[in-house]
């Protein structure tokens, strides 16, 4: 299990300073750059930034932030989590990520997804009723672009390409590309069909219920004759020195953002008991380093995944608490998980 990969993911939540005032979007972005540098220093393998188009989140173009991180780091891998391919142009996505790959000496990893938020559809003028066909077509084009040869392609959602060559080319000849899925079996099968590694977003409920998806991925790669790569999982959480402190620093901010987004999706307000049950049995990895490490080890073992990414920011949590969480994750949680799984 020594080749397990540990990541930290954020959507660039706008934090508050020590006086409780929300910082500017610009400061929120610089904060993420600083946290990525700290993550590298504490031994974290990957930082992944998600694309969102809402006032709570400062990151709308992950690659531009990743490029800023690239020149301040040497080792940490630079990912998106996710790039909303459906409402983007695969040609532009390739160009942006191959540039990050060049800047970082080959450390870029794109995670393509359909996104669980839908704000990007009206913003970029796409119709939600095309949700499936948009992703289907665009992933097909992206897979062609990954071959790094001139592309001829036509579809219904983008202008055709006639022998179009796209630059810059990568040094390795292959840009690392994952597909992020939320729980649609069809998405799992499609990922297997293209032979991409699979990242599962598990944001609620017991992780074990995703075991059938991983099994499906492996069976589907067999059927298509593609490679079954190690699967990754991505879940939210927070780490502080003690369990109590972690909950105190997480719950008030989680509640605000959970209820705001829940209202849009028709969920009732969250109760404290549900929150605590989610920490005990579900997919919130919250507590002291020991508590979080035990829970992560259990999930990694139950699902047999090769990568675990913790979404480490929630709403307006203070900057100082975020920095402490990054430090504890890299310096304590990750080594503890490795120890538990080795022992």
């Amino acid at each position: 299990m020594s080749d397990l990969v540990f990541g930290l993911d954020t959507f660039g939540d706008v934090p508050q300073d020590d006086s409780g005032t929300p910082v500017s979007d610009a400061r929120a972005i610089r904060q993420v750059v600083d946290e990525a540098v700290l993550a590298e220093d504490t031994g974290v393998d990957v930082i992944a930034l998600g694309e969102h188009h809402r006032p709570e989140f400062a990151i709308s173009t992950p690659e531009t932030v990743l490029a800023g991180i690239a020149t301040r780091t040497d080792r940490i891998r630079l990912g998106s989590g996710v790039t909303v391919l459906s409402s983007d142009d695969p040609v532009r996505v390739f160009q942006r990520f191959s540039t990050v790959d060049a800047l970082s000496n080959g450390r870029a990893e794109v995670i393509l997804g359909r996104g669980s938020f839908t704000e990007s559809f009206p913003l970029f003028g796409y119709d939600l009723s095309d949700y499936d066909v948009l992703f289907e077509e665009k992933i097909e084009l992206f897979a062609k672009l990954l071959e790094e040869k001139p592309v001829t392609w036509s579809g219904t959602k983008r202008a055709p390409l006639d022998n179009a060559d796209v630059f810059p080319k990568t040094e390795s000849g292959h840009l690392t590309t994952w597909v992020g899925v939320g729980g649609t079996p069809q998405s799992v099968i499609r990922t297997a069909q293209y032979g991409f590694p699979l990242m599962i977003a598990i944001i609620g409920g017991t992780p074990e219920r995703f075991a059938p998806y991983i099994d499906l991925y492996q069976r589907a790669t067999d059927k298509f004759g593609t490679t079954a790569h190690p699967v990754g999982m991505h879940s939210p959480g927070f780490i502080a020195d003690t369990d109590e402190e972690a909950r105190e620093l997480h719950w008030p901010h989680y509640r605000v953002i959970r209820d705001r987004i829940g209202a849009l999706r028709g969920w009732p307000p969250i109760r404290k008991e549900e929150y605590e049950a989610e920490i005990e049995h579900g997919s919130l990895y919250i507590g002291s380093p020991e508590t979080v490490a035990r829970k992560m080890a259990r999930a990694i073992k139950a699902l047999g995944v090769g990568r675990f990414d913790l979404i480490y920011t929630t709403g307006a949590q203070p900057i100082s608490a975020r920095l402490r969480a990054v430090e504890l994750y890299g310096s304590k949680v990750v080594p503890m998980v490795r120890d538990i799984l080795a022992g």
Binding site: G12, I59, A67, R72, P168
Partner: protein, 349 residues
């Protein structure tokens, strides 16, 4: 414009360099540009700008991504574009990218918007060249509204409408410095004045003084519209070496085959040696020793009432040492000399 306020910048089109005779890979060139921008800051230059191209040998297809990497490797130099092809970009994405760049760089982002002289982006992104003019006008309107207003409701012909959209991350109120790049069209000059935006003249051939009429038109239009005076800048190609001879020979070696190819594609004049020497002497090539290039820049600054001059220093396959030498000499010798010359004999502005 005071001599002290005169700004010197560098422009890169992401062009592949050579090193000891070998050609750098795309990725190596990308990293070289970051190093060159750091050098530009170290020698005191004011702005580093990157173009946007979609052809082999150019690695500037994701300009804001490249600039963001430079942002965290520098502290002071301003970061811009030369130019951003607005016509084939989505103004909403551009806003995201440049507000993010401004955040990462602590407020050093700027851009020059243009229609582009290379048209490769039109087929690549599915636009019709027949809409060249209309695309730019419509997208400029949207992009400036996104920068100048908090919440935008908009509809147009080439992009789906926006209903009460507020974009994130937010730019500072009013947006970031935005220039209009023009290649010679008087309409573009008037448009820059109409939008109350500074003017960047791309002068890539012929006597730059022929743009004096454009500058006059720009200032007159600004005045008629009741706007304050705005800066005018020039972008031209060239290199600085220790001697005139060295600069002349090195630039010719790499520039000649490139222009020969472009001439065939676009129907430019053929790059004969005679035409070349004429361009260097009185035209738009800034090739020579620090003294020669400084004198030429100071002359243009006076004749065109410039407040900024950008030198495009990379040309396909130019050795990395020659590129680095241009940057060093431009910052250490040309910049102070231009300021000195302009102090002795100030510009009209």
């Amino acid at each position: 414009m005071t001599a002290q306020g005169f700004e010197l910048g560098l422009n890169s089109f992401g062009e592949v360099a050579t090193d000891a005779g070998g050609t750098l890979s795309d990725a190596e060139t990308v990293r070289l540009i970051v190093e060159e921008a750091k050098l530009a800051e170290a020698v005191g230059l004011d702005v580093f700008s990157i173009g946007e191209h979609y052809r082999r040998g150019h690695n500037d297809s994701a300009t804001p991504v490249l600039l963001a990497a430079i942002a965290t490797a520098t502290e002071r130099i301003r970061l811009g574009t030369s130019v951003t092809v607005l016509s084939t970009n989505d103004p909403v994405r551009l806003y995201h990218e440049f507000s993010t760049l401004d955040a990462v760089s602590n407020g050093r982002a700027q851009l020059v918007l243009g229609r582009a002289s290379a048209t490769d982006s039109f087929p690549l992104f599915g636009y019709d060249l027949a809409d060249y003019e209309e695309l730019f006008e419509e997208k400029l309107d949207l992009f400036m509204r996104l920068q100048r207003e908090e919440t935008v409701t908009w509809s147009g012909k080439f992009r789906p409408p926006l209903v009460e959209q507020q974009l994130h991350p937010r730019m500072p109120p009013g947006g970031i410095p935005t220039w209009i790049g023009v290649g010679g069209s008087p309409n573009s000059v008037v448009r820059a004045a109409r939008y109350d935006l500074p003017l960047m003249l791309a002068i890539i051939g012929g006597r730059p003084q022929r743009f004096a009429g454009h500058v006059e038109l720009y200032h007159r239009t600004l005045e008629q519209l009741g706007h304050a005076r705005r800066p005018v800048a020039q972008h031209s190609l060239g290199m600085v070496a220790d001697t005139d001879e060295e600069a002349l020979e090195t630039w010719w070696t790499y520039w000649q085959p490139l222009v020969a190819q472009l001439a065939a594609e676009r129907g430019f004049y053929k790059p004969t040696r005679e035409r070349y020497l004429q361009e260097v002497d009185s035209g738009a090539l800034f090739v020579g020793s620090p003294e020669t290039v400084a004198r030429k820049i100071a002359t243009m600054a006076r004749d065109l009432r410039l407040s900024r001059f950008d030198l495009k220093y990379d040309v396909l396959n130019l050795p990395r040492e020659a590129r680095a030498r241009t940057i060093e000499l431009l910052g250490r010798e040309v910049a102070p000399r231009v300021k000195q010359l302009l102090t002795k004999e100030p510009t009209h502005v």
